[in-house]
């Protein structure tokens, strides 16, 4: 389990952002899949095997906050990092209440995001160990 490449699901309606971010993360050794909407993300989550979801808030159709609740309902295992252009304390509180791992404001350097992804991954693996037994 430990040696596996971290699987990241990138959810953002801005295609170019997803595309370049995906390339940058892959270059750093992450296994990246992309979703252009919350619905696409939910379909992917149902298949399982996602470690960390990087989720945008403002998307047409279902927004990121609602998507977070639904992701956790389908599968509580993946950690979710919210990456948004909009700082809003109420939204941040709601994200934490819904079980989000972290809240990051766009634009942020890629290193900030990767360190959050690594932290989320560590937390997820620790939980898996706890539940799966030694």
């Amino acid at each position: 389990m430990e040696g596996q490449r971290p699987r990241v699901l990138l959810v953002d309606d801005e295609e170019r952002f997803r595309w370049t971010m995906g390339k940058l993360l892959r270059r750093r050794g992450y296994d990246v899949e992309e979703a252009g909407s919350a619905h696409e993300a939910l379909v992917r989550i149902q298949k399982g095997d996602v470690d960390v979801v990087v989720l945008d808030v403002k998307m047409p159709g279902m927004d990121g906050i609602e998507a977070l609740g639904r992701i956790k309902a389908i599968d509580p295992l993946p950690e979710v990092i919210i990456l948004t252009g909009h700082a809003n304390v109420d939204a941040a509180v709601e994200i934490m209440r819904l079980g989000g791992y972290e809240y990051l404001l766009k634009p942020c350097p890629i290193e900030d995001l990767t360190s959050k992804i690594d932290g989320a991954l560590e937390k997820k693996r620790a939980r898996e160990k706890l539940h799966g037994g030694p």
Binding site: E14, H86, L105
Partner: protein
């Protein structure tokens, strides 16, 4: 050093107005008394006595009434001005956060693209050294400028954020002293001195410490910049803390800096109003201070003279809603 306080009328101005009211209010009494004397001289003692007595009474009443009306009017003006400023800030905040959000997304795209070009450059076959260095330099500039924009949009979002104060009992001297020491550390090696005038044994204030710290730090930074912008590179910042009126605590930051030209006094607290060079200020510092202090039930008083310096006084109620009204 003062040109007279502006913005939110401080108590000094209220007192001055009080004196003017007194002068205005005694006017009619003198007139009625003069009429009574006129009757007396005309051989109408009864009429004169009645008129004299009632004149005195009516003069006292009219004086009290007028004073009361003026006081109420001053308070009303103050409230209206504060309300207008609050509404203006709220509207601008709403708009600013919308714009900041829309800008953050393309900024994120620009930042990522620059990072990707950098990555490609590392993998590409070697370019002529000069070319490679210039591309790297250009990319670094793009990165820096994205961070600069992000700093602005993040501050805007912070400004627009609705945050209810979380009040607790705070030692005003301890809080201000922490910020003074922070600024002193930055000033090390420079010819700017901070003088402290703290009233000993000052009681605690029921307020929001993190918000108040932000205000004090902002005023101190402005004082430093005002000195740097003046003709003299050296100067003194005087920080005064004391009880100005029963139930109110004043925290004043005074500098010997460039001062504020009178034409700018009315716009000091307007968001985006700045006299600092590009990249040095967002024009939000004092707008944020004003918003915070008003939210804490207080005022900011400004006194300044161009070329001599400025004094910003934060006047806070010891406990909001409990102190005597100003």
């Amino acid at each position: 050093m003062t040109d007279g306080p502006t913005e939110v009328p401080p108590s000094a101005e209220a007192r001055r107005r009080g004196k003017m009211e007194l002068v205005a209010a005694t006017g009619p009494a003198i007139l009625t008394s003069a009429l009574a004397v006129g009757f007396l001289m005309a051989g109408e003692p009864l009429a004169a006595a009645a008129l004299g007595g009632s004149a005195l009474l009516s003069a006292v009443f009219s004086m009290m009434l007028r004073r009361r009306v003026r006081e109420e009017r001053t308070k009303d003006e103050l409230r209206t001005r504060q309300l207008l400023q609050a509404q203006k800030l709220a509207a601008i905040g709403e708009m600013a956060s919308g714009i900041a959000h829309e800008i953050n997304n393309p900024l994120a795209v620009i930042g990522r693209e620059a990072e990707w070009i950098q990555a490609l450059l590392e993998d590409a076959p070697p370019l002529p050294r000069q070319t490679a260095a210039e591309i790297r330099d250009s990319l670094a500039v793009i990165g820096d400028q994205v961070r600069r924009c992000a700093d602005i949009t993040h501050r805007l979002l912070d400004f627009a954020r609705k945050r209810e104060p979380l009040r607790q009992w705070v030692d005003p001297i301890g809080l201000v002293e922490d910020m003074v020491q922070l600024v002193e550390r930055v000033l090390r090696g420079r010819d700017i001195r901070i003088r402290r005038c703290y009233e000993p044994g000052l009681a605690a204030v029921f307020t929001d410490a993190p918000l108040l710290r932000q205000v004090v730090l902002n005023l101190l930074n402005n004082a430093v910049q005002a000195i740097e912008q003046s003709m003299e590179p050296s100067g003194t910042i005087t920080v005064t803390i004391g009880e100005s009126l029963p139930g109110w605590v004043d925290m004043a930051v005074e500098d010997t800096g460039c001062g504020i030209p009178p034409e700018n006094m009315g716009r000091l607290f307007d968001p985006f109003f700045t006299t600092k060079a590009a990249g040095q200020g967002t024009g939000l510092g004092l707008a944020v201070c004003h918003k915070i202090v008003t939210g804490l039930g207080g005022f900011i008083l400004v006194e300044s003279k161009k070329g001599c310096g400025s004094r910003f006084t934060v006047r806070l109620p010891r406990k909001p809603g409990e102190g005597p009204a100003l």
